[in-house]
């Protein structure tokens, strides 16, 4: 829409002060950017203006004299003269505030918002000292639970429509709306439809009064009692900017922090409310050693570390493997990798659990896109997980590109996804037939899709649609997508700091800093600093599990990893841990896997340890410490340093920041990325590795592996994650635990008919020796026939292995 005759900048005058501002910018934003704050309630920079609250009334000079306009709906034009301080403006603003307050309950002393309330603040700055209203105020039943997480007080509500617009415009689930009219206008849900949005917490955060409150925070603290620190959400790999807030060493809430790069200030509810695990009474606070009787007993750190050092030292290095590291910081992952490679001396390291993609593809696929590229994309291809379930805020960004910015959106997935309603084109296929679908697209069999894919710039978000999908399919898709016009790739994996862990070398085929583990030059450079490295490549998670189960490996170090729940073949994982001679688990909780360990070491977790994390773009951001960990828990790097000393080595990890300096020195793609460089400054964007002057040693060019996957004859299993699950961190979060959906077997109605099963009937899905589930049937017409969808990560489905060909039928 660039009009070359239109000047980019114009000059306006606000209260006598000249400002050079972007042409067409909204007056309220232009003035604010130049230090003149115009009060507002309904306007929000990330949503379309509506001019409803009328708080931002200012006078603009017109040929017919000054005219009252709302600054939030008025675009600037050259020479515009604005008065925000005239008597008329002041009276209008004071009048609006008086109107807003006449029916407001003024129950500030018992309101969660008191102390950080825009209505309070702006009344102090712009409002009348007292009310002239002597009538009875408006009354509603209050508060009402509009969802499992959010309560609504319609008396406090000032009807700014921020929440309803967010649900409609941003998250795309308009489950709250204005009802009635005039003085009886109220925000409400529809009958029998709760505000069950994955993003409902954002409405609480942007509510300019205390009308919407969140259960997990309600009545827990006053704002002035909170200590806060900016950090990065680690619930998934999007890396949303957050403010972590605590009182009396208890984390009480996360708030979204606005930045252009990642989250625009939004958070998903899992990220926002998932913090509850931090305060869980189930957190480990003491080292545990398993006795002869198979029961854990509490131990001192000295004793526990001696046991671990003895066992790891007595088992040969290459017979020990390490799994995990994706839940912590880069510093922890780096220290872990260094410990395993130089002290234990083993190459068997994997931060993924067979549920991901080739590490080199994830961290080094080229050409690579970043999230902000979605804003300028002509076409977006999403062939990967359902973003709404697995990377929720990335879903918001793609949705915005498709709805507000006019991008074409092509979604390819085995069933419906959250983006289908805004997709330009949606293609559905059976798991196992992805290669055929790709060939059909590449061969022009879907001309309407080809047409939009040929409009560049194209951003391709490529990941694993489900756990039964051949991991190489993503690379084949990427090989196709990278040849599209002005294409960029964004390879997707979900687990929080998995990109950081891989970048730190927690992969069988990677060394720190995106160096291929087999690259001679890269190995030599690292060996200069560390001494000889074990042979590469090592075993991946599947290889480690098999190796343990078959006795080729003897020891296992788990770093925040729960393969018994998370590995794609849970039965094998259980067998592997049972067979292992020695297992040590670094964890926050006694997870199913940690229960099978010989020693469990309590570590400090999120908000308790400082460091950096890397998101799916390769963007490095800081996480910060606000509270101490529970009991005797310690930072991972410190435990590893101690262990190294006991094993006769030196890890050199005196502090997390020391580790970060070593990363900046030794990990080529992280050169120059220091904590100082990441200090929260303007934009709060973090840094995308590698920096322009740094080296990216690995350029991974995806190729079409061809013919990967095969179509099962009977039923193809689509096993994919849902947002709310039975994972260890959700299970101990009281607000999130009840949100996990009922497990069910989803089948196309025609398949249900063929099986002679009705909706609600119990159906058995059997993956042979890799488990089976018997669950109620749900009709799901978005599936291709011959596909059965089972949510992967629920308590009732966790035992089902990721097997493509399954049998489905009524239980015998």
């Amino acid at each position: 829409m660039a009009d070359e005759t239109r000047p980019e900048k114009v000059t306006i005058t606000v209260d006598g002060q000249e400002m050079v501002v972007g042409n067409g910018a909204l007056l309220i934003q232009a003035a604010q950017d130049n230090g003149n704050y115009i009060p507002r309630f309904c306007w929000h920079a990330r949503m379309n203006p509506v001019g409803m609250c009328r708080m931002c009334l200012v006078e603009v000079e017109t040929p017919r004299g000054p005219r009252l306009v709302t600054a939030c709906t008025t675009p600037v034009n050259d020479g515009m003269e604005v008065d925000t301080q005239s008597d008329v403006v002041k009276k209008a603003q004071e009048g609006v505030l008086e109107f807003l307050l006449i029916n407001h309950p003024l129950d500030c002393p018992v309101c969660d918002r008191g102390g950080e309330c825009p209505l309070q603040d702006q009344t102090m700055s712009y409002g009348p000292g007292e009310s002239r209203f002597v009538e009875e105020k408006r009354h509603f039943e209050k508060p009402i639970e509009i969802s499992d997480l959010v309560l609504l007080d319609r008396e406090r509500c000032i009807l700014c429509a921020r929440c309803t617009r967010f649900s409609d415009e941003i998250s795309g689930d308009p489950l709250i709306e204005f009802k009635d009219r005039g003085n009886y206008t109220q925000v409400l849900t529809f009958p029998d439809e709760p505000f069950a949005s994955y993003f409902s917490g954002n409405t609480v955060q942007i509510c300019p009064v205390g009308a919407l409150t969140a259960k997990p925070y309600r009545f827990r603290a006053r704002p002035w009692d909170l200590e806060a620190v900016e950090s990065t959400c680690t619930h998934c790999s999007v890396g949303c900017r957050i403010s972590v807030q605590a009182s009396q060493n208890q984390v009480l809430r996360f708030l979204g922090v606005d930045n252009d790069a990642t989250n625009h200030g939004w958070l998903c509810d899992k990220g926002r409310f998932g913090f509850e695990y931090i305060n869980s009474p189930d957190r480990l606070g003491t080292p545990l050693i398993k006795g002869e009787d198979g029961e854990f007993r509490e131990a001192s750190w000295g004793e526990a570390l001696d046991v671990v050092a003895d066992h790891l030292g007595s088992i040969l290095g290459p017979e020990v493997a390490g799994l995990g590291g994706a839940r912590g910081t880069n510093e922890e992952a780096f220290a872990f990798g260094k410990f395993m490679r130089t002290i234990v001396v083993t190459p068997h390291l994997d931060a993924q659990l067979g549920d991901g993609l080739d590490p080199q593809f994830l961290v080094a696929a080229t050409p690579r896109s970043a999230i902000p590229d979605l804003e300028s994309a002509a076409t977006i291809l999403v062939w990967g997980p359902d973003l709404k379930e697995e990377l929720p805020v990335l879903y918001l960004r793609v949705r915005r590109a498709a709805t507000e910015l006019g991008a074409n959106l092509v979604v390819v997935h085995p069933r419906r996804t959250g983006l289908d309603d805004v997709a330009t084109h949606k293609l559905t296929y059976r798991p196992g037939e992805g290669a055929a679908m790709l060939a059909a697209i590449a061969g022009g069999e879907h001309p309407e899709v080809t047409e939009v894919l040929n409009e560049g710039p194209v951003v391709a978000l490529i990941g694993r649609p489900g756990l039964t999908e051949d991991a190489r399919l993503a690379e084949s898709v990427a090989a196709f997508a990278r040849d599209l016009p002005e294409a960029g790739l964004l390879p997707l994996a979900r687990r929080s700091n998995v990109y950081g862990a891989l970048d730190m070398g927690l992969a069988p085929n990677l060394l720190p800093g995106r160096v291929a583990a087999t690259a001679d030059a890269g190995r030599a450079a690292l060996e200069d600093a560390w001494g000889p490295l074990p042979e590469a490549p090592g075993r991946d998670a599947a290889g480690i599990m098999t190796g343990l189960a078959e006795g080729e490996l003897k020891g296992l170090v788990l770093l925040g990893s729960d393969p018994v729940r998370d590995f794609v073949d849970p039965a094998l994982a259980r067998k592997a841990l049972e067979a292992a001679e020695f297992v040590v688990a670094f964890d926050l909780f006694l997870s199913d896997s940690a229960r099978m360990a010989d020693v469990v070491l309590p570590v400090e977790g999120f908000a308790e340890s400082e460091g950096t994390v890397t998101n799916l773009e390769g963007r490095v951001q800081k996480v910060n410490r606000l509270i101490p960990g529970p009991g005797q828990s310690r930072p991972t790097w410190s435990i590893l340093d101690d262990l190294a000393a006991r094993m006769g080595g030196d890890l050199g990890a005196a502090s997390a920041e020391d580790v970060s300096r070593e990363i900046a020195d030794l990990a080529p793609a992280y050169a120059g990325i220091t904590w100082e460089a990441l200090d929260w400054g303007v934009g709060r964007e973090g840094l995308v590795a590698p920096l322009p002057e740094a080296e990216q040693p690995l350029e991974f060019v995806p190729v079409d592996a061809g013919g990967n996957g095969e179509a099962p004859k009977n039923f193809a299993l689509h096993l994919a994650r849902v947002l709310y699950d039975d994972g260890v961190l959700s299970r101990v979060a009281p607000s999130l635990a009840p949100l996990a959906p009922e497990a069910a077997v989803h089948l196309h109605p025609d398949d249900l008919g063929r099986l002679g099963a009705a909706v609600g009937d119990i159906v058995r899905v059997s993956a042979g020796n890799r488990g089976a589930v018997e669950l109620p049937a749900v009709a799901d017409a978005s599936l291709a026939t011959g596909t059965v969808y089972v949510p992967a990560n629920l308590a009732a489905t966790a035992s089902l292995g990721a097997v493509l060909a399954v049998t489905v039928g009524k239980p015998s």
Binding site: V50, R54, L68, R132, D180, G182
Partner: protein
């Protein structure tokens, strides 16, 4: 006046069947359409409308030719006829819809030809089932006769007309709220700009015209814009329909040429006040309009003269009140209407109108305070800064300021009577 009955001549002469196609054709109906299609370009039709100097009859008196000129180019454009006649005391469009629907339909088709529009909508208030049925039946008749639909009269012009019934909200008479309602959304006014002529129905350029305005179009095309402009004084050309109600001997609709005095309209045409009572005040142009009193009887019934006296001809509703009328009760009733009809979207209207209503109720019912008199005015000022008409607004649309009109009227002309309510603890008229 019979020689200038532009709109109501047919229904006056043929009371039983003026709404039928047969009668319409027998009285020269659809000849203007034939003329326009056969002899005129769309630009020439627009030019006649401009020459006629006709101004919008919905209440704003905006020059119609100028409005048409603002219609932005686009492949798809719409014409929307505003028949959501909901202003208390206004019932003129009802008569036009019910008694002469073909006149409107012919006007619509000619207008669509002039504007390059293929789809017109007639938005009729939900409380007008019979007018809506009549218009729908007339559309069917016209379609069967080839005046509506594809290739109209063999000219290649396609125009479809769709009737839409409102859901009962006064605010949907405001053109942008009407468009929202037509789109299936809440009836809430939109922020202007963009104006409908640039971004209207379904974000396409749209002309919204009142029923009465478009009903004039056939006459203008048949007789020429110049002939229309020769009727009535400058600024108030043509005839105008008024709805008389209240304390008046001849209530009902009248079509008059503007320019007479209010005395002539109320006494000669309206027949004066019943039961020998005195005229106390009247609403000259719908519930939104500031009131007139005896001192305005010699003001001329023109847009300019009424505007100069701080009111408006508005929707054409004239509500007459005699000396038995309590000003507080009357104002309360009007303000209550606006408070009830506020869409609730913007703060000053949502909160302010109901606050005003409740203060008036208190005063009328004996719980008024002297400070309430100035409070009424100050709260009004926060809705309509300066308390002028046409109003400055802190609101999105003029509904809020409309609720202020009765307040400024009673406080301007009858402040003593309001104060007496406070002093005597209730209405002095009982």
């Amino acid at each position: 006046m019979s020689d200038t009955l532009i709109l109501t001549g047919r229904m006056e002469a043929h009371t039983s069947d003026s709404h039928t196609l047969k009668r319409y054709e027998a009285t020269g109906g659809y000849e203007a359409l034939r003329k326009a299609l056969a002899e005129m370009t769309p630009e020439q039709v627009q030019e006649e409308l401009t020459l006629s100097e006709i101004r919008g009859r919905g209440g704003a008196f905006f020059p119609c030719g100028m409005k048409w000129g603002f219609l932005a180019p686009s492949e798809t454009r719409y014409l929307v006829i505003n028949g959501d006649e909901s202003e208390p005391g206004t019932f003129k469009d009802r008569q036009l819809l019910e008694r002469d629907p073909h006149q409107l339909i012919e006007g619509i088709v000619i207008s669509c030809y002039a504007l390059g529009v293929n789809q017109a909508f007639v938005y009729i208030r939900g409380e007008y089932p019979r007018p809506a049925r009549r218009v729908q039946a007339a559309i069917e008749e016209a379609r069967a006769a080839g005046y509506v639909g594809e290739n109209i009269l063999g000219s290649g012009l396609d125009v479809d007309v769709m009737v839409h019934l409102g859901g009962g909200a006064y605010i949907c008479g405001e053109e942008t709220a009407l468009l929202n309602s037509l789109e299936g959304k809440r009836g809430e006014p939109r922020i202007k700009p963009p104006f409908p002529a640039v971004e209207g129905l379904y974000a396409k350029p749209t002309i919204v015209n009142n029923v009465e305005t478009i009903s004039n179009v056939p006459w203008i095309i048949t007789n020429g814009g110049v002939a229309y402009a020769a009727i009535g004084p400058e600024g108030s050309r043509g005839s105008r329909m008024f709805s008389l109600s209240g304390h008046i001997n001849n209530p009902g609709n009248v079509e008059i040429v503007m320019g007479m005095t209010w005395r002539e309209l109320l006494y000669d045409i309206g027949g004066g006040i019943p039961n020998g009572r005195e005229l106390k005040m009247w609403i000259p142009g719908g519930a939104s309009a500031p009131w007139f009193t005896q001192k305005h009887l010699d003001t001329l019934v023109t847009h300019d003269d009424v505007t100069a006296e701080g009111s408006m001809l508005g929707s054409g509703a004239i509500v007459v009140m005699d000396d038995t009328t309590c000003v507080v009760k009357a104002a309360h009733r009007v303000v209550k209407f606006f408070a009830h009809e506020s869409c609730g979207q913007c703060t000053p209207c949502r909160e302010g109108t109901s606050w005003l209503e409740r203060m008036l109720w208190r005063i009328e019912n004996g719980a008024g305070r002297q400070i309430d008199l100035d409070l009424l005015l100050d709260v009004s000022d926060n809705i309509s800064p300066g308390l002028q008409w046409p109003p400055a607004m802190t609101t999105i649309c003029p509904l809020g300021p409309s609720a202020v009109s009765p307040i400024t009227s009673i406080m301007g002309y009858f402040r003593d009577e309001v104060a007496q309510h406070v002093d005597e603890g209730g209405c002095p008229l009982g």
